[in-house]
Amino acid sequence: MYICVMYSSELIKGTLKTIVLKLLKEEGKSYGYEITQKVKEMTGGKIILTEGALYPTLHAMEKNGEVATELEYIGKRVRKYYKLTPQGESLVVEKLNEFAAFLETMQFLLDLKPSVPNA
């Protein structure tokens, strides 16, 4: 469900949660639109998150207790800010380590780098 300007959706499928977690860790708190804009900005438009993928993930993370929410009322609109819970904080570390190990393995597997990884 990504719109990926450069990469195929299969390639980065499964990393949405990691991206959102990392972004929230850096930003402190953020809302849906802001998250999509940040990712677009940080990747120079190479990865654009679609709303269809982002919101189901955010809702599931909220229910799992990985993010907490704060509401801001703008007239009739309600803006929902997401921020990490302690559980989410530890999940960021876990997810980043997991992804780093995966990258290293892939680099070795696909022979993208001469050194042999430890992972």
Binding site: Y31, G32, E51, G52, Y55, H59, G75, R77, K80
Partner: protein, 404 residues
């Protein structure tokens, strides 16, 4: 940057709801997102509805409701891994418990029943339902999804039926029989038809169907196993012998003419009461079992019982009956008879009926009649030996007549 009016916001909210976004939290999130997009990415002078329609297309592939479906799926299956783990643990546990229960039952060890029931309940109420949920999520083929889930559901009812049977709870036979019939005549043909056309699984499907059909039919033949014909014939022969013995004792005892010869014997009076009570119980039961009148019941030959294995009517009409034709009243009469026997012949006399060992609950009609006839036989034979003794004494010593 444009500023959206309240009516435009209202329009978006209503439209989102109409397009199937019924989860309020998701709707407010989407509203804010759409507003941000309209405010920041769309030219101020454009038509609001056209711009809104353009933006909305970015949210879905076919229709907007898929966003809500995906959210719901993620929320529902957030415990997917926990469910898989529970499935593994309950699977192993129920297999172990059932195995242990079966072994314990074979060796008549205490706790076998509860172990078997725990294993069965875990299997039917946790393992199989979880399996159905996971099948629904994982199985790509919709036909397989439904057919396999039907099989598991039948399995749930079958196991519950077996547990009900173990505890002699009502509807056990309906549960067991119904699920066996549904399995053999519903599930197995469905399984076969839905899979046999696929060449890659044709062989496995055929083998599995044959195996399931064979096991199902075996189970079906085991279901509703009544005592075999030999046992029923033996029971009839025994009943016939008892009835004849009872008749000959009754005749023999009548010849002593004890009611006028020994009118004041409390032992004989209590024996007569007990015999009358047994007779009344038998007549009442025959009337209920055969749906016949009292007169017909009196001359009914117990060998011709149409429902010798009936339990429910016996339970209702005899075991639970508190009237003078019920088990409770009969036991009172037997206890009174025992008291008089004990005072006359001593507490260890063979004439005492072992009332404590009498059991009428959960017993087939034919066996209850046999027990009642044996009681009659016991009392009549005791009476007979007493009368023989008393009449001999009276012949030798006529003055002792009143002493009895």
């Amino acid at each position: 940057m444009r500023n959206l009016s309240e009516s435009q916001i209202e329009f978006i909210l209503t439209d989102l709801e109409q397009k199937g976004i019924t989860l309020e939290e998701l709707r407010t999130n989407l509203l804010d997102h759409i507003c941000c997009l309209l405010e920041n990415e769309m030219p101020e002078e454009g038509d609001f509805k056209e711009q809104y329609a353009e933006i909305l297309q970015r949210f879905y592939q076919k229709e907007l409701v898929e966003l809500q479906i995906e959210t719901e799926q993620l929320l529902t299956f957030k415990n997917f891994y926990a469910m898989k783990n529970t499935l593994k643990i309950t699977g192993i546990l129920s297999a172990l418990l059932s195995l242990m229960g079966a072994l314990m039952k074979s060796f008549h060890l205490p706790g076998a029943g509860i172990t078997l029931v725990l294993g069965g309940l875990l299997f039917s109420l946790v393992f199989l339902p979880l399996l159905i949920i996971l099948k629904f999520r994982d199985e790509a083929n919709p036909t397989d999804k439904w057919v396999l889930s039907l099989g598991f559901t039948i399995g749930i009812f079958a196991i519950l039926g077996i547990i009900f049977k173990l505890f002699s709870w009502p509807y056990a036979n309906i549960l067991m029989g119904g699920s066996t019939v549904a399995f053999v005549f519903g599930y197995v043909p469905l399984y076969f038809i839905s899979r046999v056309r696929r060449p890659e699984i044709r062989f496995n499907t055929t083998v599995n169907s044959v195996l399931m059909m064979a096991c199902g039919c075996m189970l079906f033949s085991l279901y509703n196993l009544n005592p075999n014909k030999g046992i029923i014939e033996n029971q009839k022969a025994s009943q016939e012998y008892l009835s004849e013995s009872i008749e000959s004792f009754q005749e023999a005892n009548t010849q002593y003419n004890w009611e006028s010869e020994i009118p004041n014997s409390p032992y004989l009076a209590s024996a007569a009461n007990a015999l009358r009570s047994i007779d009344n119980c038998k007549i009442n039961l025959v009337m209920a079992l055969e749906s016949i009148s009292e007169q017909e019941a009196r001359s009914f030959n117990l060998v011709n019982l149409s429902k010798p294995t009936e339990i429910n009517i016996v339970h209702k009409q005899f075991v639970l009956n508190t009237d003078s034709v019920g088990a409770q009243y009969l036991l009172q009469q037997l206890v009174a008879y025992n008291q008089h026997s004990s005072s006359l012949f001593g507490p260890n006399s063979e004439k005492i009926i072992p009332v404590d060992h009498l059991k009428f609950e959960g017993i087939h009609a034919a066996t209850v009649f046999q027990q009642l006839s044996q009681l009659q036989w016991h009392i009549l034979s005791s009476m007979n030996s007493y009368l023989m003794h008393a009449s001999a004494e009276m012949k030798n010593n006529p003055e002792q007549k009143d002493a009895h």
